[in-house]
């Protein structure tokens, strides 16, 4: 299975009926494709919409209805639109149940770095800092390693997105949580052994006696 699809399918299992969910750009966006149709999840787009629907059919898009990347979307029945102060009030105020974000690094304490590489890539943080500060649960969806280098590190070397630790990290190899503030291997991806995860993880991971395989 494609690594991104493993991540998206596993993250989708974390969503519950009635959740208000904000998906970041990249792998997180794919999560919406794997939410079972009987699960009533509300997706927020931070440019001012709850009830984000799929890409409209050919010829049915509206230039004033887009996602936060400016791409055409649709709005589901019951959708609501609002201004940016309301949108970030929802985010910072703890009204968003789950946010799923991409990551550059997550460290052993659960700190996320995902908004800049000094001297190389300085796009700006957009809504990421508010989402990590305010959403009830923060899930990072990212590849376990980039160019052979672990993205789960002892301590973030890139600038932090927030001092608040994330709730869960889902990669193409593992699910990692932070009970008692310590990175812990909770699940492995199908066909991946605990030894293989530990071999490519730079941060020290606590390993419980039982580490189940991800159910996708």
């Amino acid at each position: 299975m494609d690594p991104q699809i493993i991540i998206a399918r596993r993250v989708a299992k974390e969503l519950k009926s009635g959740n208000l969910v904000n998906l970041g750009i990249g792998i997180p966006t794919l999560v919406a494709n794997y939410v079972p149709s009987d699960l009533k999840v509300f997706f927020q787009s931070e440019n001012g919409l709850i009830g984000t629907g799929p890409i409209p059919e050919q010829g049915m898009s509206h230039p004033l209805l887009t996602d936060a990347g400016g791409r055409p979307i649709s709005a589901l029945p019951g959708a609501a639109t609002f201004d940016s102060a309301m949108s970030f009030g929802l985010i910072r105020g703890g009204h968003v149940d789950v946010t799923v974000l991409g990551g550059l690094q997550v460290d052993a304490q659960g700190h996320l770095a995902n908004w800049m590489i000094p001297g190389k890539m300085v796009p700006g943080m957009g809504g990421a800092m508010d989402l990590v500060s305010g959403a009830k649960r923060v899930i990072v969806a990212m590849q376990h390693a980039a160019k052979g280098k672990s993205k789960i590190v002892p301590k973030c070397t890139l600038p932090l997105t927030s001092a608040r630790p994330v709730s869960l990290v889902v990669t193409d190899m593992a699910v990692i949580g932070f009970p008692d503030g310590k990175a812990t291997l909770l699940e492995t991806a199908p066909g991946v052994s605990v030894g293989e995860v530990l071999a490519v993880t730079e941060a020290e991971l606590a390993v419980p006696d039982q580490v189940p395989e991800m159910k996708l």
Binding site: N47, L49, L64, G70, S84, M125, A128
Partner: protein, 215 residues
Amino acid sequence: MKAVSVEEAIGLIPAGASIMVGGFMGVGTPERLLDELVRQNKTGFSLICNDAATPGKGVGKLFDAGQVSKLTATHIGLNPKAQQQMLGSQIAVDLVPQGTFVERIRAGGCGLGGVLTPTGVGTLVAEGKRQIEVDGKPFLLETAIRAQFALVHAFLADYLGNLTYVLTARNFNPIMAMAADTVIVSAEHIVPVGVIAPDHVVTPGPLVDYLITNG
């Protein structure tokens, strides 16, 4: 509210002015006002806008024409020209978390000195800012933002300047319409008074200084 031509309204903006522009990745941006700003070719603007849009679209046109010297924004990653101008030090860029950005503008329009936010505590964003504890929790003091001009895009405007917005084109527009000395509005449709019901008015007419006439 005064109804004027786009040339006249944009002619009020001097070189070097501070300008807030509504829109999110160019959606809900007053393109007619920006086209005229480019045509009049004044420079040195201090621009306050969520993002730098993309080249050729929205405020991206101002970077194409080299009219911006300072930018306050939350994200400029999708405009390579703005990135180049930042890395080449042609423009000074202040990057602000998006929730903080909108609250600072809201504060500026509502007579507040600033806001206390948890966003950015313990990060680079906190550098040089006062940290204040409230009930044992740390917050950053983020000061208010105002501008000399706000360029606002509405869906409907009536003859008195009452405004409504549509879909995801609302974004920063109604917030910015309160936070500038002079508010200039372009609307997709100008309609008679009464078409917008009182309960549906988002920006009340007295906030609007200039409404751009059709044609």
